[in-house]
């Protein structure tokens, strides 16, 4: 349940790699030595760890096509736990090294194995592994927040804060909390607390006007093939995010999600640890299970005592019968030209009121576009500066017919080659849709002022919002061979 060492590494596609931060926990190492006896392998110096980790992640020697140590087919990356084989100064194996990569950064740690080393215990039996994962995820969001994008200055300043932060959350290698950004809020005076203990995950205390902000975002993903032999796929998942500024040590708040009478049940519900009680009925519906129709379909009551910061209260998935936008995409190759035909239909259940809606048509493994002769029934077309992408802006509304089309031809006559992609060769091509519809959900899941109850003396201001956004929404060219994207198979 402790970590022996912690590293933060940066690299540029395997090159210029460096250890940006490292911390060893001497007492945990001491325990590791006692536990492992003869099989003990000391944590090597950071230069060695860096090299081994890059090899294991397949990032070392990016210019060499084949390196036996890195590319042997026998060797299967057992992520999330890697095995580092050390040759010098002494031979040994370092396991289980947890590593999370995000862009140019690698976050890694080595949890203590508190079980006999031989035979190797399963990962699932070591609590330190899941704790390590939780801690690394916290470290990741600490170093990369708020946008999730690493910028070198922000990263450097956060790395500089890390030693002080570790003193608060993981002083001796046993993680007690996740790294938190910002100074702790005003401490609670003991007088206020009385007999009530202060929750350890709440850094302070809210004073002032009570405001509760609850946001429900549903995300829809889709893969449409326009092909009899391939089933079109789509899925929807929702997240409820809260920011509660309410007085009290442990204020009680309940959010209730309701479905329309014929709505299909919310599935795969995951809740935040601050949720005080979970009813078994809301956890039973599972997307991997066969749906038996008798499942509980709400209302979903979620009582909780909120932390100060914004947090994800719960998430769910939902099986909706139709995709919000059904598209078809046909390409035909003629000499140096592509004949294009696209139709997009907005389903009648979807509010025809977008914040934005764009269709992107990228073309790979071809030279730049020359003349573009396309007619659209609605919206407008832009050609990107690099001349390998068409952007079809559909504006805020579909026309009354709820259907838009694009017809015409594109010639490829430029001299510079465009981007390449191993998937999209020949007629394998796709349209990717980007859209956002405010104040609606596909699942029908309802969230309004009345859905939020706050048990406190002062009546709080309650703000709620809903929206539907797209992500990975692909419409594949029906005349090309599209990759199988999902494992919806019948075994």
């Amino acid at each position: 349940m402790s970590l022996r060492a912690l590293w933060v590494i940066s690299h540029e596609k395997g090159e210029n790699a460096s250890v940006r931060f490292s911390r060893r926990f001497a007492t945990v190492e001491h325990r590791a030595k006692t536990l492992a006896c003869s099989t003990y392998t000391a944590v090597p110096e950071e230069g060695v760890v860096l090299q081994l980790l890059l090899t294991e992640l397949g990032l070392s020697d990016p210019d060499k096509p084949y390196v036996a140590l890195r590319d042997d087919c026998l060797h299967r990356q057992r992520s999330p736990a890697l095995e580092l084989r050390i040759d010098s100064p002494e031979r040994g194996v370092l396991w289980p090294v947890l590593a999370i990569t995000q862009g140019p950064l690698i976050f890694a740690c080595l949890p203590l194995v508190d079980a006999p080393a031989e035979p190797r215990p399963p990962l699932a039996s070591l609590l330190s592994v899941s704790q390590g994962l939780t801690f690394l995820a916290g470290l990741q969001s600490f170093l990369l927040s708020p946008g999730g994008k690493p910028d070198s200055e922000g990263l450097a300043s956060r790395l500089a804060m890390l030693p002080a932060v570790l003193l608060q959350v993981c002083p001796l290698g046993t993680p007690l909390d996740m790294p938190q950004l910002g100074p702790p809020a005003a401490p609670t005076a003991p007088a206020i607390l009385g007999n009530q203990k202060h929750p350890a995950w709440k850094t302070g205390f809210h004073r002032g006007r009570a405001v509760v902000n609850v946001t429900l975002v549903e995300t829809v993903r889709s893969m449409q093939y326009g092909n009899q032999s391939r089933q079109d796929l789509w899925d929807v998942y929702g997240t409820v995010t809260c920011k509660c500024e309410v007085e009290g040590v442990l204020p009680n708040v309940t959010v209730t999600l309701t479905l329309p009478p014929n709505g299909s049940p919310l599935q795969d519900i995951l809740v935040h640890p601050c949720v005080t009680s979970v009813d078994s009925s809301i956890l039973t519906s599972n997307s991997v299970d066969s749906y038996d129709g008798s499942a509980f379909s709400g209302p979903y009551k979620i009582p909780f005592s909120p932390p100060l910061e914004s947090f994800r209260l719960c998430s769910y998935t939902s099986q909706v019968p139709v995709p919000p936008i059904l598209g078809s995409y046909h390409l035909k190759e003629e000499e140096n030209q592509l004949l294009v035909s696209v139709t997009l239909k907005l389903h009648e259940s979807v509010k025809n009121n977008f914040e934005y809606c764009e269709a992107h048509l990228p073309f790979f493994n071809r030279v730049q576009m020359g003349t573009v002769e396309l007619k659209v029934s609605s919206g407008q077309i832009d050609v990107s500066k690099e001349k390998n992408l068409l952007v079809w802006g559909l504006g805020q509304k579909f026309p009354k017919s709820r259907e838009v089309t694009m017809e015409g031809r594109i010639s490829f006559s430029g001299s510079t080659p465009g981007p390449s992609d191993p998937l999209c060769t020949e007629l394998t091509a796709y349209i990717k849709l980007y859209f956002k519809v405010p104040d609606m959900t596909l699942s029908g899941c309802c969230l309004d002022q009345h859905s939020v109850q706050v048990y406190s003396a002062a009546k709080p201001r309650i703000i709620t919002s809903r929206e539907l956004v797209s992500k990975d929404y692909f419409i594949w060219n029906s005349t090309g061979s599209a990759p199988v994207a999902s494992g919806q198979i019948n075994l």
Binding site: S22, R24, A26, E29, H30, R31, T34, L35, E45, G58, C73, L74, H75, R76, Q77, S79, R91, I100, P119, P122, L123, A124, S125, L126, L127, S130, Q131, L133, T134, L136, A137, P171, L172, G173, T174, L176, D177, P190, N195, K197, H198, P199, A200, T219, Y237, I269, L270, P273, V278, L283, S287, S315, S420, P422, L423, P483, V484, A485, G487, I489
Partner: protein, 946 residues
Amino acid sequence: MALNWPERICAFSRSPSQFLSGNTAEAFLADLLRELRDDRLSYNDKVLLVAPLCEHSALLCPSDSVGEETAMELMSIFAQCPPKAVQFRCHLLLALTSVLVCTFCTSSDSRASLDFLELLLEIAQDTSDLHAESAARALRFTACDCLRELEACGPGLLSQRLELLSGLRQREPSCLHQSYTILYTLVLRNAVYQLTRETNAGAEHLKALLGGNTSVAWEAEQDPVPAKSKDATALFSLILGPMGRVPTLQTGADFKELRSVLSTFLEESYLLTPLCQAALLHRLTEVVSMVPAVPPAVFRAQLLRLLGTSEVCLLHSALLMKWAFTDSLFSAEDEAFILKRLVMLSQHPLLSTAEKLFYTDCILHFPENRPISSSSDGDETLPVLLTPQLASALAPTVLNDSATMLTRFKLLSLVCIEEGEGEDGKGIAYLYEHLCTLLDIVENGGSREIIVTFFRATFLFLVHFWHVERYTKSLVEKLCNLYLHHCCLAPHFINLTDQTQDKLPDSDWAARLLKDLQGVIAEASSHQIPLKDLSWHLKVLARIAEEGQILQDSTLACLSKFISPSSPSRDWRLGNNLLGVCRRLMVHPSLDSLLIPLADVLQQLACRYGETDIQDHARLYYTLLTTLSREKLSGILARGFTKGGQQVKKRLLSCIMAEGEGLTNMLTIHQTERAIIRLVEVPSEAAEDAPASPNTSIMEDCPGEADAVLAAYRAQFTDCSFASQITLNYQLMHAEAGDSGFDQLFTICLHFRLTDSNYEELSDVTVPCLIRERLLPEVKLKLKPRQPQPTTLRVSAIFTTQDGLSWFTLLPDVPVAFHRIFRPLPAPSSWGRGRKLSLFDSLWEDVSSQQNPSDCATSLFCCQLQEAALLALANKHFLPFLVSDPCPGEELKVLLFLPPQAHVLLKVRSEEDAVLFSIATDDWRLLPHVNSYLLTVTSSQGDAFS
């Protein structure tokens, strides 16, 4: 703060070994401690200085005595530090914990560790910070975590303090209750564990511990120092899975006290952070599994909350309960529910890849209520309840990242095998189609990652379905087609065939692939092949030639096409690849039928190839092929191929034959895994380095003018090589019994590396041979100090073994102790005792005179020693350095000379039962060493006489 400190600390933590090759750990530690005491430094800077002590305690404090001293020092720094410097004080506590744990002080109950424990408990109980700002609470928080770590490293340390901790936890309103909770549960778990190990221990004893009633406590623990379990088993997690056995504590039917303690903790668990909740639940799970009187049902109320959470460590703690309690807490429906939940989590769109892979791993090591097979061997097995329908949610797709894709590929393969799918199984069909999609991507120029993933997936497919002819046959065709267009994948192909053959000895799939590849290359060779492709083809052909059952005629046909007579190549590498194929063909079982075309190829190479070395080799091969019998030929070549090569003799001819294996073996310096040899100290005669023996002159000369004596003495040092060297004697011997291959070592070249800058570089020493059970060779080390300080020498050696291989080995470090640097006074040989005495006195006066501002210093050392013991000590340790006669009752004068120019003068006087050593030296830096030296010799002498 000296400017370079941040850099030094950074350099140290980046590579301690490299850093310490320039400074000794001892000196670095001393520097750190001195800086920490320096009042001019800000506390923020000092925080930085503590880091090496926290991270590399064992390295900086190599022995428990150093650890103890360092801890004492740190504690006094802590005591003097103002309460305001919270951060620094916290770091000091961490450093103290690390130092004491890593030097085993906590397990030996040293003074420092007992003091430290008292200090921590004192801080942990000091709640005066409650009304201060929260930063002040940080010290108490740190102290709690230090206590927790001490208990974790030495289970049982705080067993007697359970009640105290319980009270602290109950009374604490601030967030710190979490620290007390975590500490308490760990101590409780360890206390229960300890009781399970004692015979006759039962409920009463545990009740006594919980209630703090130590009078009823276990007899063995009556003494104030708590008994601690010394073995490592207490550190192991007790959640071992179905096959593991947990020690139990028999307490009778019900155990209300413990049960109520557990309930309180569980009820308040939601106040803890997820990480601490998981730790708490894990500890409580262990406690309940050790005490059968408490039913696992106490956890029931928590389960739904844990299983519904999005936090991986909380869900995992519920899974660990399943591991520990199986059907005594989880029904069959619960089990099915959990498994479905795991499958769902393994592909949940909002979770990170690492989390999803972890959940997949949990499915493959699912703790079933009634496991059919034991999965304790760490192998992946499918839970019975994982139906194909459930598993289909985890089918691999090309949009997965590599690790996820391969993990799912493996999982689905296992499902297909479990279902007994045959040729027309849907699962296999899906996997094969997936493989083909990957292959298409590779064919279209997929990235290196995709290529590697494809070959790994192919290997997984073959391992599971090598018997399904329909797919494996078609796979060969597809792979050949891939090779035709992408022969640069040759290393992957060779690797795949090697691994398949190794893993599946019963399958001929690899041979079939190689045979078809031979056809592909033969077809390609009918056209012009670019040079870069040629070397790939030759690599594959060489691999094909290793297959006995593949006919090699078409390989030979390719070779003769490659050696085009029109434009002979000059490329050595290419020629070598050609020769590599030929060499393998020379040992092929069907050599008889290949003889003539192979000889033709070799002759062509010998006559036409544009590179002399290749020509020479080809000529040799040709001669061997045409003159030697088959047996002899294969004999020679087989040796060349032998791997490892430790015991292979007569390798010369074979080496020339096989360019790769044998020859490189000969030319490489191998590294030994362990130390093979070591240097052992032999007492050196101090006289050796002195220009003349000081005791030879019996003649009493006239004392002479004191100043003149000193001047004459000092004049000698104008020659800077005068008395500047120390010779130390060592014997070279084998390190323990070991590999008989190293019994006879020749031309051993010893190389010495300094670990500090106090000495001049040493030159290498050569020893002709070292043969086990023969006379040990002597090694004389000539050291030239710049500063007379003790040091450690890193030693490495290169030697040759009987079989002609060269080896590199590291020897154990050679320490040079302080007293080994002492030399007798380098006075001219004509000087008698009188002059030396006079020199001693002048030196003494010179050193102790106030107007001398240089490095001179005086000091005093006292100890309890009888007169007789003192004389014995003088005889034993100081004889060569005595300037006065050792008579009872007289003051002893000892002059230690330390090259290049340092002196330590001792006046030793006995007074009643104490002995006073007055010390004068012209180099104050020697004083700590003199002190510890005197401490060592006097204490050992004292022991001998008491």
